[in-house]
């Protein structure tokens, strides 16, 4: 498609990433999605007053520069399609400015923004999904505005832990498949076959196919998919579709096998989002380990958790390593499995609160998706922590596949 060839201009608003050794990685990730970083021009003399003007007076010159560049973007002095805000991981001053600059741009413009805190270990691969999502929102607003699935389409979500597939016809899911991810292609083939079988259709009949998830490129190429799309935009679309909240604001929290995502959505289009930053920590895989340790199937973990009291188990950390250590210690001291299961759910939710939701403004409805949303204790713990109702739509684990099938139907009409 010609739109794929358009270069997306992204404003790089950073505290000096060129001094952190990560700049070549940033550039490589941008090149991968046909994007180009630009540095919004500012008036140097304005730097002395920008802190006062912005209302945030910080000591670092480069953070003042970030504010001035954000202002240039908002005022249209520099025209860009997206903004990438990034500061050093571990810097409190940088984190404050990063958050406030992100909010400022979001409030004063509809330019898509992502923010990230980098270390010298940041790689292009880590940034790829984020920049892919940013450029998708910039390039494909018309596709993301799609609210109804038409024709006969399929979606495959090749996740790190499980592979999901759905077949949809005339805005209804008519077949689905859900298998553990072992070999990416074989698992996708199996899930797709299951979905087709349930739908009672053959592969030849499918008019358009969309792929998403970690294995999207591999399976997309293999199945000759019309749409190969990262999970941020696809899951946002799938979530608001399944929750019947396509209009207005919503917050989507996706607890995956490998990482967690929090996405602020408006009319089905992602605005701000964060995904498992430095460490995937606790998520789907953490639940798998807990279930194994408790000797229950992962499908039973949720019902066990809602019977327990997380307060009865001391969790010193939501980290997958130290968290497991705490739970093993608790069991050794005689804690009951119900309480341990509840504490595990709470720790995952706490990690989302601390690592993802701090960078996304939570607007209701809060839609919880991903395989872990099926564990009953998780929506309960999230609701308890945030003091709001958590919406878990039907087939919430199929979110990526549904979103891909829905978006792929745009190609049927074309």
């Amino acid at each position: 498609m010609s739109e794929e060839l358009e270069t997306v201009k992204i404003a790089l608003v950073s505290c000096g990433s060129e001094y952190s050794g990560v700049q070549p990685e940033f550039e490589a990730a941008a090149a991968e999605v046909n994007a180009k970083f630009v540095y919004p021009e500012i008036d140097v003399a304005g730097l002395d007053s920008i802190g006062k003007e912005f209302g945030l007076e910080v000591a670092s010159g480069d953070l003042l520069l970030m504010m001035a560049r954000a202002k240039a973007v908002v005022e249209g002095t520099t025209h860009v399609d997206g903004v990438f805000i990034t500061t050093c991981f571990r810097c409190a001053e940088g984190a404050i400015v990063r958050n406030e600059v992100r909010r400022y741009i979001h409030k004063h413009s509809d330019i898509p923004v992502i923010s990230y805190s980098f270390t010298e270990r940041t790689t292009a691969g880590t940034l790829l999904t984020r920049l892919e999502a940013l450029t998708t929102v910039a390039r494909r607003r018309h596709l993301l505005a799609r609210e109804v699935q038409t024709g006969l389409t399929a979606g495959i979500d090749s996740g790190s832990t499980t592979t999901k597939a759905v077949v949809m016809r005339d805005n209804e899911v008519i077949g689905s498949g859900w298998v553990p991810t072992t070999k990416v292609l074989e698992s996708a083939d199996e899930a797709y076959s299951l979905a087709l079988e349930e739908a009672g259709v053959s592969r030849d009949e499918i008019q358009a196919l969309g792929t998403t998830g970690y294995g999207r490129f591999l399976i997309g190429k293999h199945f000759n998919a019309q749409l190969i799309q990262e999970e941020i935009t696809v899951n946002s679309k799938g979530a608001v579709y399944l929750a019947d909240c396509q209009k207005g604001p919503a917050t989507v929290i996706d607890i995956g096998g490998m990482d967690n995502k929090a996405i602020s959505v408006d009319d089905g289009i992602p605005g701000m989002f964060t995904m498992g930053g430095i460490c995937a920590g606790a998520s789907g895989r953490f639940f798998e380990m807990i279930s194994k340790r408790l000797g229950v199937d992962i499908t039973e973990l949720g019902s066990l958790a809602v019977k327990g009291m997380q307060e009865n188990v001391t969790m010193n950390s939501y980290c997958i390593v130290f968290g497991i250590q705490s739970l093993v210690n608790s069991l050794a001291k005689g804690a009951v499995p119900e309480d341990v299961a509840a504490a595990a759910c709470y720790s995952v939710v706490e990690q989302i609160f601390e690592q993802q939701l701090q960078e996304v403004d939570v607007k209701e409805p809060l839609i919880l998706v991903g395989g872990s949303s099926l564990i009953e204790g998780v929506p309960k713990a999230l609701g308890d922590l945030l003091k709001i109702d958590v919406l878990v739509p039907k087939s919430s684990h199929l979110i990526g596949a549904v979103g891909a099938a829905l978006l792929a139907s745009g190609y049927v009409e074309e």
């Binding site: 505290c15 060129e18 990560v22 070549p24 010159g61 003042l64 520069l65 050093c88 980098f118 270390t119």
Partner: protein, 150 residues
Amino acid sequence: MAKIFIYPVNSLILADLVERFGHKPLAVMNQVREKVTNISLDSPPVNITPEDPKIGLRYAAVEVPAGVRGRMSLIGPLIEEAEAAIIVHEPPVDFGCVGCNRTNELMKYLVRSKDIPILELRYPEAEENAQEFVYKIAAFLEALSGEEEK
């Protein structure tokens, strides 16, 4: 001739003053120039290599932000070389600014930890203060020359 560390480390005015009095300014511009003209590096904005923050470990521990360590990989060797230093407090951005105030704090600390003559003065806000500012710097630099002659 003495090697003078200047703060702000990219201040052209300070570098010029130091040079006029026959000393060598230890400014970050030379370090960056060396980096960006090195054939193994791309052109700006790549100021340092991915390996440089590791070199910066010599001056700041691993829990210090990568940007601080990367900057210190350029500035740290200058501090080691310094035989004297001039530190200007609260300068405006256009007088010179490294950009990251955490790096500024660390480099000033490292300079003060060395047993070398240091002149610390406030950035002048009025005309008469500016004359006094230049006079103090000149006197400091002349005194260093005098020391050398002895």
